[in-house]
Amino acid sequence: MRSVSRRRRSPSAVTVFIAAVMAVAAAIGGVMTVRNVVAAFTDVGTGNVAAVVAVVVAIAPSLSTVVDAGNLARRLRRIAGRTRVAAPLAVAVWINGRSRSWQAEDWRAALTESPRPSRYGLGLVAAAVQMRLYDLGGLLVRSARWVLASNRRTWWPLGPLLVFAAVNVHRSQGWGSAFYTLPTIIGFHIGVEWLRHRWEITVKPRRSTEDPDGEQTDRA
């Protein structure tokens, strides 16, 4: 049994980009601030009181720029985080289809619990794909069972195909090679019987009707 451990995550590309934008904004703001402050203090040195106000006015826009950039970065990071979790869940629910739409609530609950929801979400996508493939496999097996349940459905398509193969080999290579198609025909028969036995399929009995004399007549 495994214990849950939180690993330290490396910063994603979005985080690095946001950090770079913030750094550039802060650098520009910083340079402007320093220049304005120096200019204002030079004026203060000469005794101009209004220069103090100029200092405040100079600092304020630069600071607000940095704060705005920080807020934007935080908001973008939050949106990116939410998308990283919501997008795989939406894809998984979409793949799952309407018949399993009830599972979305259980999966949302699991994502709220998981310490790494984006990774768990990708696992859910894999689960949805697997369940869909299982459905497809089930459909194919059901079709095969339906075909194998009747001799007519099984051998009417297969028989002419095997005869055509034998004739084709005879025409192109002669009787000797055509003789070797016989094991293939026998192999098909054994394969069909093996599948019927393995899947426990009982072959549909031939439809029969009573004739006026009371004897059973096979139609199929």
């Binding site: 495994r2 259980d106 609950a109 699991a110 689960a127 697997q130 299982y134 089930g138 059901r142 349940a149």
Partner: protein
């Protein structure tokens, strides 16, 4: 033609999950996320397996009740009587099978 209940094959992952069901009591329900955490299996394996077990009627599922509005409901799974019996029977068959082990030097124990 009616679709038969899917057969459950005792793979390693199936045994892991079913052993977890046996290890937990009836008043200690299991849900998808907890099973992934306890067994170490990923959700890509656990959820399809749970669905197959539920279709085979080896486990039963119920929705969590009395949950607060801010959290979605979990789906609780419990091992059914049929599941318990079938699993025990399959395990008994499996234990009767001869186990071949590779032993270095040709000695077989």
């Amino acid at each position: 033609m009616t679709e038969p209940a899917p057969k459950v094959r005792l793979t390693t992952t199936t045994r892991l999950v079913l052993d977890l069901f046996l290890a937990t009591g009836p008043d200690d329900p299991l849900w998808g996320y907890r099973i992934t955490e306890e067994t170490g299996l990923g959700p890509g394996i656990v959820y399809p397996l749970l669905e197959r077990l539920e279709k085979a009627r080896w486990i039963t599922a119920t929705w969590e009740t009395g949950v607060s509005e801010d959290r979605p409901r979990r789906r609780f799974y419990t091992l059914s009587g049929t599941g318990r019996q079938q699993y025990a029977a399959l395990r008994a068959v499996r234990e009767r099978l001869p186990r071949w082990k590779w032993a270095p030097g040709g000695a077989r124990h």
